[in-house]
Amino acid sequence: MHAKKLIILSVLLALACIAFMTLGAKGSWSFLLVFRGTKLLALLLVSVAISVATLLFQTISGNRILTPSIMGFDALYLLVQTLLVFTLGGFTYVALDGQIKFLAEIGVMLLAAVLLFSTVMGKGRQDLHRMVLVGIIFGVLFRSLTGFLQRIIDPNDFAILQGASFAQFSSVDKDLLGLGILLVSACCLIIWRLRYTLDVIALGRSNAINLGVSYERLSFVVLVLVATLVSVSTALVGPVAFFGLLVTSLAHFIMNTHRHAILLPASMLIAALILVSGQTVFERILKSQSTLSVTVEFFGGLLFLLLLFRGKMR
């Protein structure tokens, strides 16, 4: 049953990819293949990063409504980026190799994320609402600090940072694609090996410990993985608030299971399907750039409210 659904999703995704590559194609194929191919690759990578990060985060925080973005992870990444420009100065920053910069950003991000969220989540575990609220306010704080620093930075340096307030799926940063693929694959490999342990972690702390899982260590590992994945997706396309929530909710709804071995591929496929087909529709058919993210946010927000009201907090 699950296998059948996964196959259907894969077929749909393949169709969407073909549509994305061929619709409205003009000019030489060798150019298009590379141009559209990299774009497609980036979309797929972002889908995998966001869906896996969200699913993992929901597993360790023990609920189906939180996502790393709601808790301010991607705002934190943007802050880290701005901080680096601020401390290094614009010229040094530009002079740095893009991939080294990226790795440095991820390093700082990991440190900050683990420090911040292990305290928030440790304290807030009993009180989910407070944890979410704290996360959202952290997001506001990070965004405001980013804005604040961007104003202080030299106007020249400022131009280096694109003050993106919402995701741009149509313009991805292609230089980071290679490194991104490497990082995401590494994360996915670790996670795939942990897939059965994750099922146990989803049962909650006391149950997991009772079943012999070293809970604290694993939730630390998962937090690190989540921070890495969010960094990659934010670096590539910018912040997305509710996309992950939309994807994992759909995955739970369609698959109707708690097993990570099924949920992980399912949510990856669903995320990719939404992004690729959405981008095809918006870019190729409607000819309107970057409104996909706003549309996704709008429906994601509505879904979040719906989940709140239907009491699916746990």
Partner: protein, 317 residues
């Protein structure tokens, strides 16, 4: 009540200081001697300082009233979609009737703000009372949705830049002739003080209100009206400013309790002080450039709010 004099003196001193902060340096000793300086004072410096004070007081008072109406101390008009709804209203009226006068925009913004607030209150009335933190959560998400809708429309119609001016509050554009609407906010704040007792009773709950012979619905509608009007006034003239309405009433509550009759003067003065302070920080940190007051408050306000969230046990009030 006894120390409010001190707060007022502090506000006055800070206002005087604010008058002498600006790109053109004016010495305190001889500002009245050059007619240019006097002009500068009356055209720019004094209006700006007054606008800051009026905005701060109005935002804080609105927050206090909102918290009574929602019976939850973690809400304010700009965190539950009211200010966002007002911005949506302004955007719509600007799109549909580009040449309409400011007063028409005001009225439309108030109407949409009122609708937004009514939707929010209707939503939270269906939440269980046992989880007070769910209320601000729903509010934040709701305001996110309204904002996404506004951005979407603005994007499609290439109004993103206009829309940005209402989304982030800034006082740098305040000149004589561009802030006078804010005096209406002051009037509304005084009106709130006149009926302060009724809002306090509403804050005790519906049953207590009925028991004390209050027309619950009527008072709530009056409250909604005052809130919608003053929120959209601020959004139209200076833009959205976060956290003032959230943190100031909470601080005043700790000092004075929930009796609005006693605490409202404090709320107003502290609100004005906070915004004035943040405006000064924004003007001084990167002199001669300015950082919008909304950004400064976003940083300071979220710190204070995080403190408030953790300083008190799970019950929100």
């Amino acid at each position: 009540m006894k120390n409010i004099g001190v707060a007022i003196v502090a506000l006055f001193a800070l206002s005087c200081f604010s008058l002498f902060v600006g790109v053109k340096e004016i010495a305190i000793s001889d500002w009245w001697q050059s007619p240019q300086n006097i002009d500068l004072f009356f055209i720019s410096r004094i209006p700006r300082t007054l606008a800051v004070i009026l905005t701060g007081a109005s935002l804080a008072v609105s927050g206090a009233v909102m918290q009574m109406l929602a019976r939850n101390s973690f809400v304010e008009p700009s965190s539950v979609g009211t200010a966002q709804s007002a911005a949506l209203g302004i955007l719509l009226v600007t799109l549909l009737y580009p040449g309409s006068p400011l007063i028409v925009k005001m009225i439309v913004a108030s109407v949409t703000a009122m609708i937004g607030m009514a939707v929010f209150l209707a939503m939270i009335s269906r939440l269980p009372v046992t989880s007070p933190l769910l209320v601000p959560l729903v509010g934040l998400i709701f305001s996110g949705i309204v904002e996404a809708l506004t951005i979407f429309i603005a994007f499609q119609t290439e109004m993103l830049q206009f829309q940005g001016t209402w989304m982030s509050g800034e006082f740098s554009g305040i000149l004589r002739g561009r802030y006078e609407l804010l005096w209406l906010c002051g009037v509304l704040a005084i009106l709130t003080y006149v009926v302060a007792d009724q809002f306090t009773i509403i804050g005790m709950g519906k049953d207590a209100s009925i028991n004390l012979g209050l027309n619950y619905k009527q008072v709530v509608i009056v409250g909604l009206f005052i809130l919608a009007l003053s929120t959209s006034l601020v959004v139209v003239t200076v833009g959205m400013i976060p956290f003032v309405g959230l943190v100031v009433p909470n601080i005043a509550r700790r000092l004075m309790g929930d009796n609005l009759r006693a605490s409202l003067p404090w709320v107003a003065v502290l609100g004005a002080l906070l915004v004035l302070m943040c405006d000064l920080i924004g003007r001084l940190v990167h002199f001669p450039y300015e950082i919008p007051v909304g950004t400064v408050l976003g940083v300071i306000g979220s710190f204070v709010f995080l403190y408030l969230l953790y300083a008190r046990p799970a019950h929100a009030r």
